[in-house]
Amino acid sequence: MGAFESHGRALSAIAAAWVGRVDVPDLLQEAARVAWQRRSQFVAGSDLRAWLAQIIRHVGVNWRRRKCMLPLLTTDLVDHRDLPGAAFDRGFDAEHLGLPDELARGLAGLSDVARECLLLHVVAGYTVSEISGMLGIPDNTAQSHVRRAREALRASLTAVHHD
């Protein structure tokens, strides 16, 4: 599992894009378990980092699905439709990031893939070309995700300053 360790920076950024910051270690552990179980399915000579990235994304989807179902299992009288992030496509935890509210909201409003591209570029320091290889998308798509994500976050910050 040395590969998992050497690509930890990229995998952490992708995991954070799916679930926020707090659950990253748990998501990494689940992904490591899946990767270990499926190691025989990895095609020698293919892109290991992209393969691991794909596993992280799959695990992220399942993780979020499970998390979004949890409120339904509690005995609290909560209408799950009213919960922020209860919808399947809103499992990103923006509350525990230590970011200003407007920036956290801006991040939560991005699509998953845009958040992945942004965090891989800004936090993990990967080039657009490396990101496109990891996520299996064209270079210009990755580029425009980063650009639009920045624009959206800038807008969320400036909107607050203008209020």
């Binding site: 599992m1 954070a16 270690p25 490591a32 699905r65 439709r81 990031l97 965090l119 798509t141 920045r150």
Partner: protein, 203 residues
Amino acid sequence: MNQDDELDSRLDEQLRAAFAPPPRERIREIAASVVSPVVVRPSWPVWLLATAALCMLTWVFARSADHAPRAGDAPLGSMWVAAYEDAVERGLANCCPGGCGGGFDFAQACRQRFEARLEIAADAAVELVGAYEGLPTGGCMTLLAAADGEPVCVFVLPRAEDRRVELPADKSLHLSRRELGDLILYALSGSPGQNALGSFIAP
């Protein structure tokens, strides 16, 4: 430095601080924990009790599966919606190995996977793009197609595994179903009027 650049550097700093990856040692520990998990060997009475409980659960589950009517499968519907949205967002051709077409032989894939004959009619109004590769879809064969220029995801599964899939209530997508021999086909699309499944035949 203009205002946008200043904002960008401020944003970058905040993002780097908020999403700093776990230390390398922590990731090493995480990886190591799945390779050599700690095995706790329970004493034999606990082991015996666990086995008995498992047998009981299996029996109860088998009975309820035989007698209870099957409810609609909403979690699977959520997975399909996620895959559809992923395909639309990434572009259909980008979700198929080898891109558009990609040498995918649909009829052969069906024979190999289901031992059943399924093809698309020669005069079909639907254009098959390829097999979807991306998010999990619950083990179904997942096809990407375009009908009237609109993206459609087609999910194929054996009749025995069909669980009357339902979409999440908050989604405005449309799911249609067709039985064709031993196979069940579902089409997920943005428009209710599409008849993508009418193009599939069992010769």
